[in-house]
């Protein structure tokens, strides 16, 4: 028995209108442009290839943590423990690797598994006991920090060998030709994806983008990637750390947009009761989101340790967590759940790190830096709140 009528009626062309989902990413992109112009005009070193390469290195660790924050924010939850967890996992890795002489790869594996286990614990406390995620992860913020200090013990700092896998990770620069090849492959993949999607929609008789629109999108992507590779090649090349972070962001977004799991994340964030009635295992989605948050935190901890070539008592401490959350929100992830893309982590951390980097270049005190970052965060949340209120319910 089929309930589907045979005759495809006249399609409504307005379906080509852009998806209305909050303010989208354009405010952030505009903000980035303003930041670039302001700092670039005050200090001509800001837009230099060397500084932009440093910027790329600086944002990878916190950006990866922020990616995990996006996953929990999509459900309308929060993870305050991400900073502590990143530090704890980095310390665990360093203790195994340096003090116990493990190979780096199994040490990293254990540390990442620890991240997953912590996320599982948080998720179960939220879903099984019904504790608010704010409290669960606040306890985590304090508790995991304590465990970090305990593991680190006396001394307080563990240096990673400079010629080891981890230290080399953040000092690896792709040769120019690989950078260009990578950019070409990405543009090629996007072109193929766009063409296939357009072809499929056309064959199904659905409204589809014009070839011109597709070409403009692809040209924008190619220009952005080309500019990035060109600037970074003028310095030391494309940093491997940036490639890793970028790949994580793209992979996460593809999962969120094109798998049922991703669809269910948005559904649970939008209306958990509706998702439950649709037969979605809401508990499992929640637990997985917390595991993803802690996993990305652990991964970010590895990247931070790699960049510092050491772990110490302030690993994952100070403003790491706050910057990760601020980045996710500035990038356009709604605190109310159900809206946002993985790209928010990339755009948001780019804004925050640009401000930090630019102010350091100008020798401005960190008091000023915090105030400006706070202001940007407030503006981002204001835009989110207004966009939400603008939606007729």
């Amino acid at each position: 028995m089929s309930v589907v009528a045979p005759a495809p009626a006249k399609e409504v062309r307005s379906a080509l209108a852009p998806r209305r989902s909050g303010a989208g990413m354009w405010p952030v992109v505009a903000g980035l442009a303003v930041i670039a112009v302001v700092f670039g005009s005050i200090n001509n070193h800001f837009l230099s290839p060397e500084n932009l390469a440093n910027l790329a290195l600086q944002m990878a660790a916190t950006g990866t943590i922020s990616l995990g924050i996006v996953m929990v924010l999509l459900l309308g939850e929060i993870d305050l423990s991400a900073g502590s967890v990143s530090g704890l996992c980095a310390v665990t890795m360093a203790v195994l690797h340096v003090r116990h002489g493990w190979d780096p790869v199994p040490a990293i594996g254990v540390a990442l598994a620890l991240g997953l286990a912590i996320g599982l614990l948080h998720g179960l406390m939220v879903t099984r006991i019904g504790m608010p995620s704010f409290v669960v992860t606040l306890a985590g913020l304090i508790g995991w920090q304590g465990l970090l200090l305990y593991l680190l013990g006396q001394g307080g700092t563990i240096n990673l060998p400079f010629d080891g896998l981890l230290a080399r990770l953040s000092d690896t620069w792709l040769p120019n030709w690989i950078g260009w090849l990578l950019a070409a492959l990405i543009v090629g993949a996007w072109t193929a994806g766009g063409l296939i999607s357009r072809q499929v929609r056309r064959r199904a008789g659905l409204p589809h983008h014009s070839a011109l629109r597709l070409a403009i999108n692809l040209a924008t992507l190619a220009l952005a990637l080309g500019a990035a590779v060109m600037i970074l090649s003028a310095d030391r090349g494309v940093p491997l750390l940036l490639v890793i972070f970028g790949a994580l962001v793209v992979a996460t977004d593809l999962v969120l947009q094109h798998t049922a799991f991703g669809r269910w994340m948005y559904a649970v964030g939008g209306n958990a009761e509706a998702a439950r009635r649709a037969g979605i295992n809401v508990r499992r989605i929640r637990v997985i989101a917390f595991m993803a948050a802690s996993f990305f935190a652990a991964l970010g901890g590895m990247l931070a340790a790699s960049r510092l070539a050491a772990v110490n008592q302030s690993s994952g401490g100070s403003d790491t967590l706050l910057m990760a959350i601020a980045a996710a929100v500035i990038g356009g992830t709604s605190l109310f759940g159900g809206r946002g893309r993985a790209y928010a982590a990339l755009l948001g951390i780019l804004v925050i790190q640009s401000i930090t980097n630019g102010m350091l270049l100008l020798n401005i005190d960190s008091s000023m830096r915090y105030m400006v970052t706070g202001g940007v965060l407030a503006i981002a949340v204001a835009i989110d709140s207004l966009a939400r209120r603008g939606n007729p319910r």
Partner: protein
């Protein structure tokens, strides 16, 4: 198609259902009526897997089945449209229609295939929505009701349960929904509607089952029943 046999359900101190039975057949619209607190919603929750009965059993085509969660009900071909519609406001129409039943290939969502079916389905129900990708939050109340009913049809169910389908609608939209319910029956589906509105119930149903204080309180063929007899069964007054 589905038979409920001697079901009991208790919430804390409240005995919501006491030995309730109900038979539903393909190609027939059954209306479930009763006063507030009569147990209509509880019975629907038990059939749709939202709640599990304390005692009693549910049979599907002569076989006893277990409906422990909404997924079990879905697998048996039972779809429910709740009064609060249960739509995800942040998702588009297509995403809502296929929520929990997404079509996939190699675990990737089949966006185009789902949108094609969604457009065909909405066209067959004479539902007009300008931007099918826009979040449901921007649709009108009538459009959302239509999306919710269309969504119940996506899984190609055999039984559709409609909880107060006309409660929030105007005269013209009510007529459209009643037409839609008749179309569902003509397609051979079993339909169970819960309603306070006896006019709508008499207009569309084939059979009326009355609940009162959690017990069966009478069953009528709509064609033979008088309004007075139904009201008497609902209120418990002697005829």
């Amino acid at each position: 198609m589905i038979s409920v046999r001697d079901v009991h359900k208790r919430y804390g101190a409240v005995q919501a259902l006491t030995g309730v039975s109900l038979d539903l057949h393909l190609g027939e619209v059954v209306a479930l009526v009763g006063d507030n607190g009569a147990g209509k919603s509880t019975l629907v929750k038990v059939i749709s897997g939202v709640d599990v009965a304390d005692e009693g059993r549910i049979e599907c085509e002569e076989r006893t089945v277990r409906i422990a969660n909404p997924h079990d009900a879905q697998a048996l071909g039972i779809a429910t449209v709740y009064q609060d519609l249960a739509l995800c406001e942040n998702l588009g129409v297509v995403a809502n229609l296929f929520l929990g039943a997404e079509r996939r290939r190699w675990s990737l969502l089949r966006h185009a295939g789902m949108e094609r079916s969604a457009r065909d389905l909405l066209a067959s129900l004479d539902v007009r929505i300008a931007d099918i990708q826009a979040p449901v939050a921007v649709l009108s109340g009538g459009q959302r009701q239509s999306v919710a009913i269309a969504r119940a049809l996506v899984g190609e169910p055999r039984l559709i349960i409609l909880d107060e389908p006309t409660a929030a609608l105007g005269v013209e939209q009510t007529a459209q929904v009643l037409d839609l319910i008749r179309r569902l029956r003509d397609r051979g589906l079993a339909v169970l509607i819960i309603s306070h509105n006896l006019v709508d119930v008499r207009a569309v149903s084939d059979r009326i089952a009355v609940l009162r204080l959690g017990r069966n309180a009478g069953e009528f063929r709509t064609a033979d029943a008088t309004q007075e007899a139904i009201v008497a069964a609902i209120t418990g007054a002697a005829v």
